[in-house]
Symmetry: C2
Subunit: 506 residues, 2 copies
């Protein structure tokens, strides 16, 4: 039996065996337990599930120091960032509690029986119900907020779905610790056994996705990894929904007015954004369109200076480090691509290190390979002569989670044209800001057309819950057999009745 091992990315050394790889039979037992838990988890209702999410947040908070220390040892992301990530994670759990209490997410809709131009209509009542057990594959780069206790888990539990976690090999010990904290809190709260389960190892992840009890899959990772899971799903007799957040280049356009007004600052802050967390953000700005000429030169000079002054960074694991070395070298060697600056070399040996890198190309005849995502602290400046060159180059850019416009104060003409060109390519359009840092809120969207995701839903923010729900309509049902939220007298949540939306007060 092979063990899943926890490694220290700062030294590259294996530190401890975390758990044996979960066997196919063990995966099946966990899936069956999750399936058995599903009706009881749904039957807890909105208020109790909200309280469960609060209890999970409390439990995680109570173990903050230990969790952050272990996550830092496994990821080298630093305790400041990881403390912030833990705060974000508990906030996220509690926010889904608010979503449950508010109740709009059910999309409760009642059409009473009546006559229509089509003839008589029966009594129809629709709301969303949980899909059943959800498999969650966390991301390497957010060991808390997009992993075991992260947004997929929070939104699936909120929806009423048991969660089967695939521990990420890059932070297996943190995954195990956090799972134990959450599982103990859930048991202590009285959640049904089987509400949470965890598996270790790549084959166990594949077994999970193939198991008939699993009704949806949440995944944050590479296009290659996502496609491998999709192939397993497509070979099921009953393909289930797959929500993959996959790859994102996150183009930034700096207008000439912005460059003239605050070029140095934009350059410096853009580098801070693309080297944040060693460039291991799905929203890392990987392609920065900067005007030709003196004003753009100031942006590029500031970027070069900032990159030259950046120390070597520690990446999450050996695979990412190897891939960064290969892919960034390939980018730098593309015809038409120039290397503008390199960061510091690593001290000593060992460790999964990366040298920050700034590249440059021209918008006219943009080299095709420049639009490949490279995970890690590299970004490419693209110089454009005029609006026409800029808009033509944007047509070559693949879809992303985000797209950013840096504009001059009060400037709207060119930013409007650029935003219009960027909108088909992105799920979030930023103005005068940086794409790293994704607020968890009601209005957030973290998603976009392929390859950034494969869905029309978000993995961050309150509407992420929609992924793990499906509509059911009850026709002519006796009141006793309806969910409470669909009975006539219920007034606790927003509902649409006979076509009119009513809020609890109205």
């Amino acid at each position: 039996m092979t063990d899943v091992v926890s490694t220290d990315p700062r030294t590259g050394a294996a530190v401890e065996a975390v758990a044996p790889e979960t066997t196919t039979a063990e995966v099946a037992a966990l899936c069956e337990a999750a399936l058995a838990a599903a009706p009881a988890l749904e039957a807890m209702g909105r208020e109790r599930r909200a309280a469960l999410l609060d209890a999970l947040a409390d439990a995680l908070e109570a173990r903050r120091e230990e969790v952050v220390a272990l996550a830092d040892r496994e990821t080298a992301l630093g305790t400041t960032r990881l403390n912030g990530e833990l705060t974000r994670t508990t906030y996220q759990l509690r926010l889904f509690g608010e979503v449950l209490r508010e109740g709009s997410y059910l999309e409760a809709t009642i059409d009473h029986a009546g006559d229509t131009p089509m003839g008589p209509r029966p009594d129809l009542r629709r709301m969303l119900v949980p899909l059943g057990p959800v498999a969650v594959f966390g991301a390497s780069n957010f060991p808390l907020a997009f992993s075991v206790p992260g947004g997929d888990t929070a939104s699936a539990l909120a929806a009423g779905c048991p969660v089967l976690l695939k521990a990420h090999g890059s932070h297996a010990a943190t995954s195990k610790l956090v799972f134990e904290v959450l599982a103990a809190a859930a048991a202590g709260f009285g959640a049904p056994e089987g509400t949470l389960g965890i598996v270790f190892g790549q084959q166990a992840g594949a077994d999970l996705v193939a198991h008939p009890a699993v009704r949806a899959v949440g995944f944050t990772g590479s296009v290659t990894g996502g496609k491998a899971l999709l192939r397993i799903i497509e070979s099921r007799p009953d393909p289930v929904p797959f929500f993959g957040e996959l790859s994102s280049l996150n183009p930034v356009v700096v207008t000439p007015a912005a460059a003239a007004e605050r070029g140095e600052r934009i350059g410096r802050e853009t580098v801070a954004s693309f080297t944040l967390g060693a460039g291991q953000f799905c929203t890392k700005p990987g392609l920065v369109f900067v005007p030709a000429g003196a004003e753009g030169d100031a942006v590029v000079a500031a970027m070069s200076e900032a990159v030259s002054g950046s120390p070597a960074q520690v990446l999450l694991n050996e695979g990412i480090a190897g891939s960064y070395g290969r892919t960034s070298a390939e980018l730098a060697q593309l015809p038409g691509v120039r290397t503008l600056a390199r960061g510091g070399q690593p001290d000593g040996e060992g460790g999964f290190t990366a040298v920050p890198l700034l590249l440059s190309a021209d918008a006219v005849d943009l080299p095709a390979g420049v639009t490949e995502e490279c995970f890690g602290p590299v970004s490419t400046v693209v110089r454009y002569e005029d609006e026409k060159q800029l808009l033509a180059a944007l047509e070559e850019v693949p879809s992303s989670l985000t797209a950013t416009v840096q504009r001059g104060t009060g400037e709207t003409d060119l930013p409007g044209t650029v935003a219009q060109a960027l909108r088909p390519l992105a799920g979030r359009i930023l103005f005068d800001a940086y794409p790293t840092g994704v607020a968890v809120s009601w209005a957030q969207h973290h998603g976009g057309p392929w390859p950034s995701t494969n869905s029309q839903h978000t993995s961050v923010g309150t509407s992420a819950i929609r992924r793990f729900l499906r509509p059911v309509t009850w026709q002519g049902a006796p009141a006793e057999l309806l969910p409470a939220e669909l009975t006539d007298g219920f007034t606790g949540i927003p509902r649409r009745v006979d076509g009119v939306l009513h809020t609890p007060g109205s």
Copy 2:
């Protein structure tokens, strides 16, 4: 060049050449025109698009007689049914106009900048935007309501997406006529050129799905057809959303109390439901669980009598007729399956005819093949001895669009248990009603787990519009560059502002 030919299913004779198969180059030109039309169609805004839908409904109504006559000649569905279908179709177009005017479908959400436990939050504003050109593959069995002018077209146009129609070979002439009516009305209204396009022939359909300009596909048809399109989509560099309504068995459970109370009526009406439209409904009840014993016998006797008295029926096309002959014969020959009754034989030669058929099996050791869908006027009675046998048999039933419980007056215990068992298997749960006939309304859901659909969305009812939209969040955007519905002063639609849902009056 091959022509697409219109056939008369009552005689089996080819009547006319409708159109040449659309070439790959012509498909590409139509796709490019749709892509070019997309921004202008979106820019028309909600009010104008609602008026466009009204204009399309008016135009269709004005040609009612001609459309119904041609559709009847091509489908043999009869003018009563087709007049009703046209009424449904125009109602559906106008209802999506109401959806646009009401505006909830945008999911408009504003989070103003502010402090949170996670730190400062930027100004975030989210709403849904159109996906872009949508390819629509209509169904054979609803030449209007699920074809050229049907629900997919209405919801995609409402969303602001140009529509590229694949004419169904089974009613190509009707498709062409209706397309011409709609296209002329759209042009007369001033909709952008390229708002509607149509292609003929199977290869043209494949070309459509593969074209980069197509951003989503709506499909109603067989699992085999749906999987073929999915394979094309998966081989695109950018797989796009596919919404397939595929296959549905629509189980019905008659409780002993219902059988005792009104067994004869349930039997008679169930046969009327499964022979309606020659059994060519996606919601046809294909599996009817009836209690063993005298009360159940009364249900079965009434069903047998009704089937024996049913004349032969004309199916839509040669493929469906051939498949019905083969598949119903296979069902009848399964071990454990008995033939209870046959309808009348067809008069004379020619025509795509079907003999109605009633089969029977036992719930204990339910033959696996009995749960295969067979399109056409056949249904299988499954006799159960007790609740345990019934519930065990229901576990063998694949997911469907609908599931029905016929219960005794005031009976809730067994119906509650059965509905709980049926809910994971269906998108609509009916009580004391028949699944054929799907009302178009706010609370309708026409969808379900695989194989009934591949999505968590509906193809009937107002929320069908969600399929052709995706969220976009604007971060820190100047008011001038926001959609009107996301600006602070806008009050015309329901919106969520800083977590609180507001309706226009509140």
